[in-house]
Symmetry: C2
Subunit: 215 residues, 2 copies
């Protein structure tokens, strides 16, 4: 976004729609989370494991954001819950307007307790666009760098949760997990950090238990 | 970018400036590469190892693109070559205009044979913005997913090289490297793929040898 005045206008319009989405979702008792990370940090696996652990006790629906393809929606649909794919085309993030257009579909699915939105793989712009969610969840993997929270502060300052993912791989890397977490907390001291692995299951009980309490 | 007409106009303007940059760089005998990947795929390590292997035989300068911080420029400057940090603020990619503004700095550094531009960590928008480079180099790591080329086709179709990075970690993951490469070639059959690791050095001689031949 090169024109700052235009950027501010687009974001202000997005905020308005996000506020409407938030009210509509809340009125129907739907708790909504927006999951954001770089491509390849393991968002879709996190969504799959979250669905597996919670679908017995909650009604869950998923919205998948991707530039192209429905690969993620296909993965999620195998878990037998409603899933909708949004292809953003050239847009590198979901916005509130796209979610607004998906609400009629969502409301047709019957009672939903938890809506999981998986954003486009990108640490920059998705952090700027409120979708109307209750909780913003950042994911980073231990194969990235410890400096990511410093380099992409907008995501880490606006998220309430950070899932430090793929911790099963940390022993094969020089990644300093304490340093990465310290960097994240220097940007946002209230960030709740949970170390997770979708391979060996680390942290997933803890994450889903907390999510269930919130939802 | 929500307004498609505006997006087309911005990109057309970018193309004009990129063409000017390309001519100015070519006139001075500078070969330019633009390295693009998700955050955490190992771009900065690739730049460091490329500089180490080539600085004895070529004059190299580096431009580092980041939303915030000069962490990458500090890393590169330890190798004793000219480096300039561009902080893009809210913009999720470098554009030709930012590079144009850095050319006077570059031309003050004396004779340069190779300019390495490390773009902002993002697989989406950087692929759309020509900077005036001779070569676009995509990097992905084996800890991401095999489906990345399908999900982010613009990058893989516009790049000439793909460095499949962090191959030292592949044995600890379920990543299918042949499948990932097949996906990349389905998007762009002419893509030259080199498997690399900045930990054990795999592929770096091959990569820098080819780069030196091109530059």
């Amino acid at each position: 976004m090169h024109d700052i005045a235009l950027g501010v206008k687009v974001l202000a319009r997005n905020e308005e729609i996000a506020a409407r989405n938030r009210k509509e979702l809340k009125d129907r008792g739907i708790f909504t989370i927006n999951i954001i990370s770089a491509p390849g940090s393991g968002k879709t696996s996190i969504v799959e494991r979250t669905v597996e652990l919670l679908k017995g006790s909650m009604n869950i629906a998923v919205i998948e954001g991707d530039i192209q393809t429905d690969l993620d929606a296909v993965r999620i649909s195998k878990h037998g819950i409603p899933v909708k794919q949004i292809n953003t085309g050239r847009s590198c993030h979901l916005d509130a307007h796209m979610i607004e257009h998906s609400l009629p579909w969502l409301f047709e699915q019957g009672k939903t307790d938890l809506l999981i939105i998986e954003n486009v793989g990108n640490m920059v712009c998705p952090a700027e666009y409120d979708l109307g969610e209750d909780l913003k969840v950042a994911v980073m993997s231990v194969t990235e760098g410890e400096d990511k929270p410093l380099k992409y502060p907008s995501l880490f300052s606006s998220a309430q949760y950070l899932l430090m993912n793929k911790v099963d791989l940390v022993k094969y890397t020089s990644f300093d997990i304490e340093k990465a977490e310290k960097n994240a907390l220097s940007i946002n001291p209230r960030l709740r950090i949970i170390r997770t692995s979708c391979v060996d299951g680390t942290g997933l009980e803890e994450w889903t238990k907390e999510l269930k309490t919130l939802a």
